[in-house]
């Protein structure tokens, strides 16, 4: 026949609750790997510039001398390549999406990483001393 194919589904849907999630009352669903936005830790960044070179949309800019790390959130596509490529773990991917914005603002961070002092040359001096 085929005149009432949809009826069963319609009746089932009538007694069920809504299929959609009640956003924003209920927070948006995210998974364990959801790529929301990139966060930056200025205390561990060593200004190697890998993130900036790997970024496919040129959203990240880094200035080594001025110790500035910038991200243009409107350019960033949250691909996660910078996070994967960072050798020092300064970048992390957070699952929350940013709310929409109307102004084009570049997010600027000042790198606060301090290069640790090199260990004293004591052993060398000692060895030099013994040699002499």
């Amino acid at each position: 026949m085929g005149y009432f194919e949809m009826t069963r589904t319609v009746l089932r849907n009538l007694v069920r609750g809504p299929a959609t999630r009640q956003y924003p009352a209920v927070p948006a669903r995210t998974g364990p790997f959801t790529r929301g936005h990139v966060t930056f830790d200025p205390t561990t960044c060593r200004s190697c510039g890998l993130c900036s070179r790997r970024c496919p949309c040129e959203a990240i800019r880094i200035e080594k001398e001025e110790k500035v790390w910038e991200i243009d959130r409107m350019r960033c596509v949250a691909c996660g390549d910078c996070v994967e490529g960072c050798p020092f773990g300064s970048l992390t991917m957070e699952p929350e999406y940013f709310p929409p914005v109307v102004e084009h603002v570049v997010e600027r961070h000042t790198i606060t990483y301090v290069k640790p002092e090199k260990p004293e040359k004591k052993p060398k001096e000692e060895s030099a001393g013994t040699g002499a």
């Binding site: 085929g2 005149y3 194919e5 949809m6 589904t9 995210t30 959801t34 949309c57 596509v77 390549d81």
Partner: protein, 359 residues
């Protein structure tokens, strides 16, 4: 002889969200000729290949289309891997297949919903999209993105699916297939749907083949061409048979897609059963030097990425032929003879993806 008038259809139209413009030449309400024009959203993504390194371009390739994104990345990666003679590990091939079929599932369910909306069956439209949502949830849980997966890279994949998640997906397939079959029965058997679709937008087998149609448009006319038969990724191990209908009308094209939904579920099930353990990627050294035509079966048909490298980190040329471009000549052939009210349904029946077409 009735007076001829020209009615513009698109680029902004309530039924079709994507910007394609058709000049419909009408005699009363009957379409006698069609002049298509595209070019509203050209983004120059092919040119970008010369400014991005070949490993970075995967992310650009993925953003050519918002629906078959994973398959664009897959097609590009396969092309580069072939030029550089990189052998991808088996587990990566299987996972690529699983994600490809998930993409096909959500693309076809999206299309079925849009098509139902186009013919005025609102309830069916919402039901299709409700089912699509569960596929998107799986994609988000396994890759981190709902439509832009970002898991394909040159030499393999970036992320694994754990055995626990694979088992969970396998368990969810049976109830999901039952829901899809309930939905598909409405498309295939309901008299109102049949009355609206049968005999509409007919294109014969010879015409479809000669005009170079691709994907379900071609298979709906009885030509058994499906690139998955060539056995790229893990399709060679899974044993795949193309789905063919012979009528060549809108109903046949719809039936091909409904049956491909069932076939995709079956392929995912077999891929999960047969997935081997092993590494996810191989290290890629050097730069591509050579050229290759990479081909992959997308939900809409065959996509071709032509890639030419000259031994530097930047490719010299990329050219992408998407299935919708191949289907537009067939569409122009389908429309004459249709009523004006049927035009949206016929246009939707080729599943046009204009952002793909214009890149």
């Amino acid at each position: 002889m009735p007076k001829r008038i020209v009615v513009p259809f698109g680029p902004q139209h309530p039924v079709l969200p994507e910007p394609i413009h058709l000049d419909l030449v009408l005699e009363d309400e009957l379409v006698v000729d069609v002049v298509p024009s595209i070019g509203y959203i050209h983004r120059g993504l092919e040119q970008l290949v010369q400014k991005r390194e070949f490993t970075e371009y995967v992310y650009v390739a993925e953003r050519i289309c918002g629906i078959c994104s994973f398959m664009h990345a897959l097609c590009y990666c396969q092309g580069i891997e072939h030029i550089m003679k990189v052998e991808v590990p088996d587990r990566a091939k299987y996972l690529r297949t699983i994600w490809s079929e998930c993409s096909r599932l959500h693309s076809h369910l999206l299309w079925l919903g849009l098509f139902a909306d186009g013919m005025g069956f609102e309830n069916l439209f919402m039901r299709s999209w409700q089912l699509r949502e569960s596929v998107l949830d799986v994609l988000e849980d396994t890759t981190g993105g709902r439509v832009i997966q970002g898991t394909c890279k040159v030499g393999g994949i970036r992320r694994d699916i754990g055995q626990e998640k694979l088992d969970e997906m396998h368990r969810a397939l049976d109830p999901f297939e039952q829901q899809c079959r309930d939905l598909g029965d409405v498309f295939l058997n309901d008299e109102t749907v049949k009355y609206r679709l049968q005999g509409l937008g007919v294109i014969s087998k010879d015409e479809a083949y000669t005009l170079g149609a691709a994907g379900p448009t071609l298979r709906g006319s009885g030509v058994a061409v499906d690139l998955r038969e060539t056995g790229y990724a893990a399709y060679g191990d899974l044993g795949f048979k193309p789905i063919v209908e012979t009528a060549g009308d809108c109903y046949a094209r719809c039936a091909v897609r409904v049956k491909e939904v069932y076939a995709s579920i079956d392929l995912i099930r077999r891929a999960i059963d047969g997935i081997p353990e092993g590494p996810l990627d191989v290290k890629v050294k050097g730069a591509p030097d050579g050229e290759y035509f990479s081909r992959v079966e997308q939900p809409r048909g065959e996509v071709v990425h032509y890639l030419r490298g000259d031994g530097t980190k930047h490719l010299a040329r990329a050219r992408i032929r998407t299935p919708t471009l191949a289907n537009i000549p067939a569409l122009v052939k389908m429309l004459p003879g249709a009523q004006l009210a049927d035009v949206p349904v016929v246009v939707l029946s080729i599943d046009p993806c204009i952002s793909c077409t214009e890149r």
